[in-house]
Amino acid sequence: MMLSVRDLTVSIGPETAPIDIVSGVSFDIGKGEILGLVGESGCGKSMTSLAVMGLLPQPGPRIRGGRIDLVGADVTQLQPWQRVEAGHGRIAMIFQEPMTSLNPVRRIGDQIAEAVRVHDGVSGAAAQARAHELLDLVRIPDAALQLAAYPHQLSGGQRQRIMIAIALACRPQVLIADEPTTALDVTIQIQILGLLRDLCNRLDMSILFITHDMGVIAQLADRVAVMYGGRIVETADVGALFNEPRHHYTRGLMDCMPARNLGARRLPTIAGQAPRPGAIRTGCVFAPRCAAVQDLCLVAAPPRIVLSEGHEALCAFPLQGERPS
């Protein structure tokens, strides 16, 4: 496994009364594999990925339990620089809004060369040459010209390619992409998704791809983890997930997509809204919104049921595996 996360719990609040914002999360990503992590706003996707990166904001959220293994080494409590020093696996991250991560007053070429200098220890012509190579890798045409440009002179899609180029400077074995196409239009999104898939194949890189969009998951992921209220409620191969969603939340997410209901007078909805962290202390976190809720769900934490090889759901009464229309 390139990345293996076991029972990860991230908490806020006082030591004596912690509130879990990520609760017992486990997943694995194999070499060259894309794991899609999907869920609604505030469900804990970003906190999970920041914990994996060793980049949780300080002070505030902290890892209270569990273990993170990167390319075979336990990195749970290591800062990013400690990981580099110890020669552990290489991991990089890209974010939703490239403009906030790029320096607006520095040329693109200098920003990429800076990343190259940090990782390869080279500067000058050698760094510029590698920067050129990275731009080619992310398929930016006229690389020489673009190296001299400032971020605002590029389109949103090109800026996201630049961010990917900077992330690739450390030759990552694992790339975390946190909603990298959410701010882009579909015609540009599809190009960026194509680029990520291509990099994954060519460089044998593993990707943790975070999104709230089930359509994007269907297009890109090999495996999927569905997150709700800080927990992973279902994991499956992408085909199995879409063919036979077994958790009621997964099914609800699929049903309420407008693209599945064009022209319908009413859209199916999931009643209510996602809970605040810590609001639900007993039973199933999805119970207040679940159409299939039973008495047991309110008083007992749901079991993690293995439905078939690689397909699990956190539910006492999982769906029987009918295909959504």
């Binding site: 090109q158 579909v186 693209a259």
Partner: protein
């Protein structure tokens, strides 16, 4: 016989912007014509920055267009004053993308919802005002007690309901909804879309519904206008556009929608190119650099919107 409520003719709106010390004139909307008949929902779809919001803001006079004409029930909107302006303000109401930004954080929900009524002297008495607020909140599925709450106490979906209440309180003829569900999670998005479809039927509202999401647009619209770089490139019935798009940009847009079906993958298959910078707009067709059908003429001459085929459809393209 349905009446034409809103008529926009050859609207042009531009902005002065500064980039790296140089000043530019950015043509956000470059000759848009649209009409809206009573009871209808006209969707406007297109990528970020193509001018959708600017069309909406020009209609409600939040920005000053350079040229063009806008008429509401035959009366001039852009030059309206006095009683005519009041009529425009109460009848053309906007719902914004970010409900947090559009509600004043220091005013109660009730005061925000009543604002247009207060300014325009709509309420007969304090009791009438309170009753209208309560009735409007109920219409959008909020308890009347929300009137005394503040925006930060509401969830995203509740805030957007409050934003809709604010728009419909004066019983307007037209709602201009600018990406009203784009900031919401899918499950909440469906709740708010259902509400808008209900209100449309119950109150007989007409709507200009702006979104970059063709799925959302297809859901709610009767007709659809597709915009690209400040212009309408295709306009027709929603079904016609969804089932048989004609303009090369509309077709790319439809092809690039990520289908929620892993057995129909388009990643790495669909080539759609990327738009040119808004600061160096090409002289001919703005889509030419991305267009598989582009010819010499497309580089020299911008295509005009014209009727094509039997479907009551307008397309701006030389090569169809």
């Amino acid at each position: 016989m349905s009446e034409t409520l809103l008529e926009v003719r050859d609207l042009k709106t531009s902005f002065n912007v500064k980039r790296s010390g140089r000043k530019y004139r950015l043509k956000a909307v470059d000759g848009v014509s649209l009409s809206l008949v009573s009871g209808e929902v006209l969707g406007i779809v297109g990528e970020s920055g193509c001018g959708k919001t600017t069309v909406g803001r020009s209609i409600v006079r939040l920005v000053q267009p350079d040229s063009g004409a806008i008429q509401f029930r035959g009366g001039d909107v852009l030059g309206a004053r006095g009683a005519a302006l009041r009529d425009v303000r109460l009848n053309l109401r906007m719902v914004f993308q970010d409900p947090y930004a559009s509600l004043n954080p220091r005013r109660s929900i009730g005061d925000s919802v009543a604002e247009a009524g207060d300014i325009n002297g709509v309420f007969k008495s304090r009791a009438d005002r309170a009753a209208r607020i309560a009735e409007t909140l109920s219409a959008v599925g909020l308890e009347p007690s929300f009137a005394t709450r503040y925006p930060h106490e509401l969830s995203g979906g509740q805030r957007q309901r409050a934003g809709i209440a604010r728009a419909i309180l004066p019983a307007p003829a037209v709602i201009i909804a600018d990406e009203p569900v784009s900031a919401l999670d899918v499950s909440v998005q469906a709740q708010v879309l259902n509400l808008m479809m209900d209100l449309r039927e119950r109150l007989g509202l007409s709507m200009l519904f702006i979104s970059h999401d063709i799925g959302v647009i297809g859901q709610i619209s009767d007709r659809v206008a597709v915009m690209y770089m400040g212009r309408v490139v295709e306009l027709s019935d929603a079904r016609t556009i969804l089932d048989r798009a004609m303009h090369p940009y509309t077709r790319a847009l439809m092809a690039a929608v990520p289908k929620p079906d892993p057995s129909q993958r388009i990643v790495g298959v669909v080539e759609t190119g990327e738009p040119p910078s808004q600061f160096n707009r090409p002289t001919g067709c703005a889509y030419a650099a991305r267009c598989p059908l582009a010819s010499e003429r497309c580089l020299a001459e911008a295509p005009l919107l014209r009727p094509i085929g039997p479907d009551n459809r307008l397309v701006a393209c030389h090569n169809l």
